[in-house]
Amino acid sequence: MKLKGAEIFIRALKQEGIQTVFGYPGGVLLDIYDELYRSDITHILVRHEQGAVHAADGYARASGKVGVVLVTSGPGATNTVTGIANAYLDSIPIVVFTGQVPTALIGTDAFQEADIVGITRPCTKHNFQVRRVDELARTIHEAFHIARSGRPGPVLVDLPKDVMQATTDYEPLPPKEEEPIPPPKPASGKALYVHDLIAESRRPVLLTGGGIVLGRASEELRQMARRTKMPVTSTLMGLGAFPASDPLWLGMPGMHGTYYANMALTNCDLLIAIGCRFDDRVTGSLETFARKAKKVHVDVDASSINKNVMVDVPIVQDCKEALRSFNKLLADQNFTVSYEDRREWFDMIEEWKRNVPLSYCPSDEVIKPQFVIETLCNLTKGKAIITTEVGQNQMWAAQFYKFDEPNMFISSGGLGTMGFGLPAAIGAQVAFPDKLVVDIAGDGSIQMNIQELATAVQYRIPVKVVVLNNGYLGMVRQWQELFYEKRYSQTDMTYAPDFVKVAEAYGTLGLRAMKPDEAAATLRKGLEHPGPVIMDFRVAREECVYPMVRPGGSIQEMTLGREMIN
């Protein structure tokens, strides 16, 4: 059957099971948009291409499926770069289709031409330019395969206009058959060794990361932790994979981690790290990080192992696969350990928890940002999908919202992209129209992609935005307070729009809370509203995120808030 490139594009997407595309049209994409007009694929028209990528990213993180972006050439393509780099650092499977000028014009500085393949080479898992229409279908399928397999990541496919207009014979791929889940692989010699290490260990800790969420290994992790009675700490990217309500939970480690998670890491004699990459925000000084521990590291990406932290047992394997065979090994060996066996270790942890709990100074005068998140957590019973912007809002969300399930906490971990939260919330809400999706934002970062409010209003995507408004770029201000003698260079954001009026101008509901006793009512009203909402909480201006490890410092040396010091 002879088809045009643009028709093949739509058919290949449908074969990949794609129902939703986040995009923005332009000159070289007219053929594709004409085909979209006739197809039943849902297209969400964003207001800026960066928003499209973050939305596809949020969609992917919430649903576990590949997110899809469609943008035009030149500025449309270059506007996606931040979003792509963001997905790359957090290993999120998305496919970004960029229009390109006709092949004959490539390299001539044609109107709206940009070498997007060259520009995105270091921030994509892989990228392609389709030069011939007969390569189109195969390239699209390969792009999806690369995005979702192994360590996932963003893939970009550049589509010159003439390739979309050319015709070729099109044979659809035979439909894929669902492969049955194979039984767990027999445990390797290394797994047997790890089994012995756990049996001998007196102070073991499990450190997990985004790999557990991406690898859908949350259930297997829970089984392993509960069977071995190992306390669990998880990086920002892995929050929710292990339930915060479980007694084995230690909270997040690292720069703004809990005191007890950092102390447990520092004092453990066995560290089993699964699906994480030992980011500097987690380890602090590498010289002092978990130096008493034998270290085991499981990751699907060999390049993550022995990159920052040298380990005793490197295991290059998919997290889920590794945990399944390990759990089977534990079952076959009838491995049992009781809380009583680990009494000494749990007593130590309990004491750390008692001495320095995660807390803040409550106030009747001024709204504490942590109080807003705690109240939000209570009102939503911890069941909302939470996206965040970047900075203090993000750290308080990670600390004070208690996640019991994976894919519920959606945050820009690696790149730290301000402006991520709102479009990501839109993407997550598109994936789950019936769930409550809340973006926890700051007054700085919400302004970075606030235009996407129009997208939310147009498609009736009822995301709730909680702005913790302190009139500062709070995290930078915090560093200036602590390390630069309060010289607040360029961090005052007092000149901000009235967020209630902004919401109203976009045609939706805006609410404001000035005092602590208004906070709960504002949240309740906002969460119950059927459409998108911006809630502006005027919070304590100079609140800091604690505990805090100095950049480059040892994680057991934490600066604590007043309230944490007994």
């Binding site: 393949v117 060259g118 080479r121 270091p122 898992k125 892989h126 690369i146 360590r151 990406d301 060999a302 390049s303 022995n306 990159k307």
Partner: protein
């Protein structure tokens, strides 16, 4: 020991496509590693190219480089070639100005390094010298005082002695 920098030779099998060399170079350059020598051509299978490159780094950096290169979709394999298990050669073309005074010395050097004169144009000649990197560098040192006009080196090519 791990921290000691030395020359490491990596041999890569990659897809023979535009962009692939840029990906490989970017993977090293983006992390601050310089490619000292580079040699690329198609293998017996025209769809696959072999890249042989040398990097002056310590062993732990080389291990990281190898792993990062293997993440590239277009890279099929990366192996480090060691001197004992590999034959390594480099070729150099060097153009000399000939004078009555230096002719005999140049002929002696060509003989010593088992080189040959590829072409001769009036008072100018191009000499080809093949050998280990050290041989080539010694030849340059010997020829320098005699007046090198210009030179070009291939960088290292290397092949395992046995499979």
């Amino acid at each position: 020991m791990e921290k000691q920098k030395k020359e490491h030779i990596l041999s890569l099998l990659v897809n023979n496509k535009p962009d692939v060399l840029a990906r490989v170079a970017g993977t090293l350059g983006g992390r601050g590693y310089n490619i000292d020598t580079l040699c690329v051509d198609a293998t017996l299978d025209p769809k696959i190219s072999k890249i042989i490159l040398s990097v002056y780094q310590d062993q732990s950096a080389i291990t990281k480089i190898e792993k990062q290169l293997l993440r590239l979709i277009d890279v099929h394999s990366v192996s480090e070639l060691t001197e004992t298990e590999t034959v390594m050669r480099e070729m150099m073309l060097v153009r000399m100005k000939l004078t009555e005074k230096n002719k005999a010395d140049i002929a002696l050097i060509i003989d010593t390094f088992r080189g040959r004169v590829v072409t001769m144009n009036g008072d100018s000649c191009v000499i080809e010298i093949t050998g280990t990197k050290a041989d080539v560098e010694r030849a340059i040192e010997s020829l320098k005082p005699l007046g090198i006009d210009d030179l070009a080196r291939t960088g290292i090519v290397a092949l395992e002695r046995i499979k």
